[in-house]
Amino acid sequence: MSHFRTTVLRGFEFKKKDTIIHRLDPRAKAVYVFVMSAITLLFTTPIPIIMTFLSSLIVVVFAKVVKEWSSTMKGIIILSLFIFVVNYLVAPTDKLNYAVSMTMRLIALTSIFSIFFLTTSPEDFSLALLKLGVPYEYTLIFTMALRFIPTLAKDLQMIIDAQRSRGLELEKGNIIQRIKRFLPILVPLVIYEIKRSFMVAEALEARAFGAVESRTYFYEIRMKLIDWALSTSLIISLVLILYLYFMNILPEWLFWKVPG
């Protein structure tokens, strides 16, 4: 309870660093996420999914974001266990295999998406969205939402501290009681953030937001050779894998199931 920020959220906060990965165009990174996710979702056996996960580790190292990435991965351990148990129970056949595969899927997807958000600034991301045709207002909403995540986490912590200081015990009681106890946390948080949104809106107005039809975009993102090369090779790889998969040409050991 004592410090929220150093956990799950850290793995999704962009930190400016100068690595090859950071310098890639967000669209190329999006292709990476898409391709890797597709592979992860295509297979229902653990080996290919684990391979995808391991390859993402290489990217994490190159991007020098090991610390932040580990924070998130540690944070989803509990969720992973939950997914494991649920999937084990619902699986029609090959229970253990199913559970392991689904859990690995979660872990792999978290890793892949985490890489994206750790190495892509919210502005670059929204510039990419802009180039894809999303209206500016929406991309700004997205950018600002990300920018305010750490602020929100700080507020949440302060509220928890203030209420615990008046004797609120969040750890006690059964499920129903615990949920009720979150009201003194949620109410101030929601009201505080709504008030904040008004102040932010005022400040936006004061900076002439919406003044002209065609706004200038000072910063640009351009696909460089490396971005095209990466995107193309990833897509070709995906097409190849799909072809081999549906043609049943892939090696047997990729489809090894966990016994039990």
Binding site: S2, A162, L168, P184
Partner: protein
């Protein structure tokens, strides 16, 4: 018994990046102490140790003889009431009355006790007329009083206020000063965190100064807040009274004047020869 004992306290949020280093001090019951330093010096982090919200990484903190590592936050909060800076971070109830009841209900007071105390404290803070109104309808100054009331209602022995004068106008400051004086008169141990030197010299005897996580001074307000080096290291500005006294050094004015009366006395002496 000591109200608060801090020995060899070290703390970090992120491993290796110490926010508090080797903090040592003792506060007796009934003392009034102000903890000062610039933003980021570690003041708020320090007071969070007083009710166990944070536990020391090295060293210990004892509150009325109890080691904070061995108590829950709820247990310690009963003894140490902390009023944080921003009422917006705590007000949540449907009515002012329910807001004030909150702590009492959490601490298990009887219904009769609760009613008695709530009624008294609302009177004391002139908030009675708002009893059944939403706390969100109050003015900023009233919200601050409500936040303080909701902590004082359970009469903790030690009262800690985090930046009580931030953003407050002169009238609100006066009211808060009155509340603090009342608490000091009643023998409570009162601790305030602030960077407002004018406020500190008006109400407190002792000042503990933090700078970048270290304790750089601990002593009488008159000595500590008139020491140029300490003020500089802590990013604090001297009171206007002190500054004026320094400028009149040549006329024999002493260096450690903090109160208006003292300065006036010396000026009158100088001008009536």
């Amino acid at each position: 018994m000591l109200a608060i004992e801090v020995k060899g306290l070290y703390f970090y949020y992120v491993k290796g990046e110490y926010v508090l280093e080797d903090i040592n001090f003792e506060i007796e019951e009934g003392e009034s102490v102000v903890i000062m330093g610039s933003n980021g010096a570690g003041k708020t982090t320090l007071i969070k140790h007083f009710n166990g919200l944070l536990k020391p990484i090295k060293g210990h903190v004892k509150v009325l003889g109890k080691d904070t590592k061995e108590c829950t936050v709820a247990e310690l909060s009963k003894l140490v009431g902390i009023v944080f800076q921003n009422p917006g971070h705590q007000l949540f109830a449907e009515t002012v009355e329910k807001e004030v009841r909150f702590a009492l209900e959490n601490f298990g007071f009887s219904e009769n006790e609760i009613r008695r105390r709530v009624s008294e404290i609302l009177k004391y803070f002139a908030l009675e007329k708002y009893k059944n109104l939403s706390p969100f309808n109050l003015s900023e100054g009233e919200k601050k009083r409500l936040a303080i009331a909701s902590v004082l209602v359970y009469e903790p022995d030690i009262v800690v206020l985090d930046e009580p004068t931030i953003g407050q106008d002169a009238i609100q400051r006066k009211k808060i000063a009155e509340v603090l004086r009342g608490l000091i008169r009643d023998g409570k141990t009162v601790i305030a965190v602030t960077h407002d030197v004018e406020f500190a010299v008006e109400l407190f005897q002792r000042a503990i100064i933090l700078s970048r996580g270290r304790l750089i001074a601990d002593g009488d307000v008159k000595d500590v807040l008139t020491d140029q080096e300490i003020l500089k290291a802590a990013n604090l500005l001297p009171s206007q009274i002190t500054e004026c006294a320094w400028l009149l050094r040549d006329l024999g004015f002493p260096n450690c004047i903090v109160s208006i009366q003292e300065l006036e006395e010396h000026i009158i002496k100088a001008l009536r020869g």
